[in-house]
């Protein structure tokens, strides 16, 4: 008896659903993507007439965030949070720690909420002066004045 030959199976993959999947992914990321502009959610940078765009962050620059959270004024540097009254201790501690590691901290970037009172800002500036940090950059958003 003649054996019947096995039928060759077609191994073509149906790709008609592929565009649907890609579009779905595209729309999902388009809708869910939130551009992160601030590292701290409570911080709303003030708007002012901007001339110089912020350059790339340098490891030798100290990033200082001052903002209000639940009515309290807070300061954050390198993920360490303290109330504004203790800003002197925090800044001095971190700068000395970094300097002991051999980093030359000479510049500071200040990310300050527009509603913070100037006495707190001046307090931070004075601390920076004491630590021989004289180059200070005030980071803000662009607004037409």
């Amino acid at each position: 008896m003649k054996m019947q030959r096995k039928k060759e199976r077609s191994i073509k993959i149906n790709t008609t659903a592929l565009p649907d999947i890609i579009f779905m992914l595209l729309f999902f990321f388009m809708v869910t993507t939130v551009m992160q502009t601030k590292t701290i959610s409570e911080l709303s940078l003030p708007q002012a007439y901007g001339i110089t765009q912020q350059g790339d962050s340098n490891p030798d620059e100290l990033n200082i965030y001052i903002y209000t959270s639940d009515g309290a004024q807070l300061i954050t540097i390198n993920d360490q949070k303290k109330s504004i009254e203790q800003s002197n201790l925090l800044i001095t501690g971190i700068v000395n720690q970094l300097r002991n590691k051999g980093m030359h901290i000479q510049k500071a970037n200040l990310f300050i909420d527009s509603g913070i009172v100037m006495s707190s800002v001046n307090q931070v500036k004075e601390t920076l002066q004491e630590l021989d940090i004289y180059k200070v950059k005030l980071i803000h958003e662009y607004g037409i004045m």
């Binding site: 890609i22 595209l26 003030p46 708007q47 007439y49 901007g50 912020q54 980071i139």
Partner: protein
């Protein structure tokens, strides 16, 4: 006679290519909105403090109050009113010596209004520099040679002193 059935299926094979093309286009074209910076040079603490009289001609006094109001010379600008400092800056830098801007800041002044003032000063200085550059060299300031830039920068030089006032 029976009509032949026409196949109405559209070919969607190129759809994935289009989606990828769009995805890659937007990935390449997207630029992230960067923040702006305003650089300040702080003076060394309690050193080199100069005492002396400054003539009224080269002095501009500005007051910032706790309600974001700005007092420039004898004019008051309430919050969110645009103001120009070009005339005042021209006045204090028209002398041989550099001008002095004295800013009296109330301890409860919001930082936002202080920053606006500082950026307005910087903007108006740029305006004056461009004006002078067009007058003297017929070019915008950015395109001037370094030596010419220095001359104009010396002409428009000023220093800023900030004083935190006491609460009443």
């Amino acid at each position: 006679m029976q009509k032949r059935r026409i196949d109405h299926e559209t070919n969607a094979g190129a759809m994935a290519d289009i989606a990828f093309l769009l995805l890659i286009f937007f990935m390449v074209v997207t630029t992230f909105n960067k923040a702006y910076e305003l650089e300040l040079s702080l003076p060394p603490k309690k050193e080199n403090t100069r005492k002396g009289k400054i003539s009224k001609q080269r002095l501009l006094t500005i007051h910032l109050n706790a309600q974001s109001g700005v007092l420039i010379g004898d004019k008051i600008y309430p919050q969110e009113v645009t103001y120009s400092l070009t005339d005042e800056l021209k006045r204090i830098t028209s002398n041989q010596k550099s001008g002095v801007i004295k800013i009296n800041i109330h301890p409860d002044t919001p930082y936002g209004s202080y920053l606006q003032l500082m950026s307005n000063i910087k903007r108006d200085k740029e305006l004056i520099l461009n004006e002078l550059a067009e007058e003297s060299y017929g070019q915008p300031f950015k395109e001037l040679k370094a030596t010419n830039k220095k001359v104009l920068l010396a002409k428009t030089a000023y220093s800023i002193t900030e004083i935190q006032t006491e609460r009443l």
